[in-house]
Assembly symmetry: C2
Homo-oligomer: 152 residues x 2
């Protein structure tokens, strides 16, 4: 139930790309500096994003990375899945495929609900939202409660 460095880095780099808009390819180095991410590690992450069709790239002078689609069509969920794999799997299998026995029978519904609630946030927020700061209302609702900001 944690967010890996890779996922965090990936979203941050993608946010920079979204902000760059159509000003042409952005060098990996610039992304790394803007977000304080180790360059070589970031390059691997960008490659994964490329393989998942989220980012495009060109080599050579004037080369760099850019978003494959408009920023308002790329969700955080996509990026997280690209680098971390499926969201909210239990023991590496999707919750809908698990059969629980005995008194744990209803646990499946709980894990399904967990996944759905994650999707409700991650699939709603696009890179455009993130960069503009105008986050969808679901995020506003959840962060409005001061309790959401305290550790537990």
């Amino acid at each position: 139930m944690r967010v890996s460095a890779k996922a965090d880095y990936a979203v941050r780099a993608a946010a920079e790309l979204a902000a760059a808009g159509d000003e042409g390819p952005v060098k990996g180095e610039r992304l790394a500096e803007a977000q304080d991410i180790p360059l070589q590690f970031l390059e691997h992450i960008l490659l994964e994003l490329k393989h998942h069709g989220i980012v495009r790239a060109r080599r050579g002078a004037k080369g760099g990375y850019w978003l494959a689609r408009p920023a308002d069509e790329v969700t955080i969920a996509e990026i997280v899945r690209a680098v971390e794999g499926p969201i909210a799997h239990v023991q590496s299998t999707p919750p809908e495929d698990i059969e629980y026995r005995g008194h744990a029978e209803h646990l499946q519904e709980v894990w399904i609900a967990v996944r759905a609630s994650l999707r409700n946030v991650l699939e709603e927020v696009t890179l455009a939202d993130l960069v503009s700061g105008e986050l969808p209302s679901v995020v506003g609702d959840l962060t409005a409660d001061p309790d959401a900001w305290v550790a537990r």
Copy 2:
């Protein structure tokens, strides 16, 4: 963003304990058989639950495990935290402590929302709910959408 075997096992074992109610201590072996969990591994998990004050135990003949508190006062969140640590930390630090730069500034709110949405599910469901199958409405709402049941 995944649920470990340990967390899954812990919740299932706790559900069995909740179902056993006050019929006296339940042997680890019986829990292991009921939920098909490797016994020795389960014993380590139960020990962690004990250290977190969720479960109690007695050794010897007629020994076994039981819940330290009534089943309707123990939430899934507690159990998950006991065995997996804090929920939804980013790179092992709580989201409220992270400072984002550049165009990723609003990412903090997204991770806070992610954590809040997880809590909304995990802190609402108690062991009593789980065993009875009468899950809180938040779970019902989330699992009602057929879309929640399909992989993506």
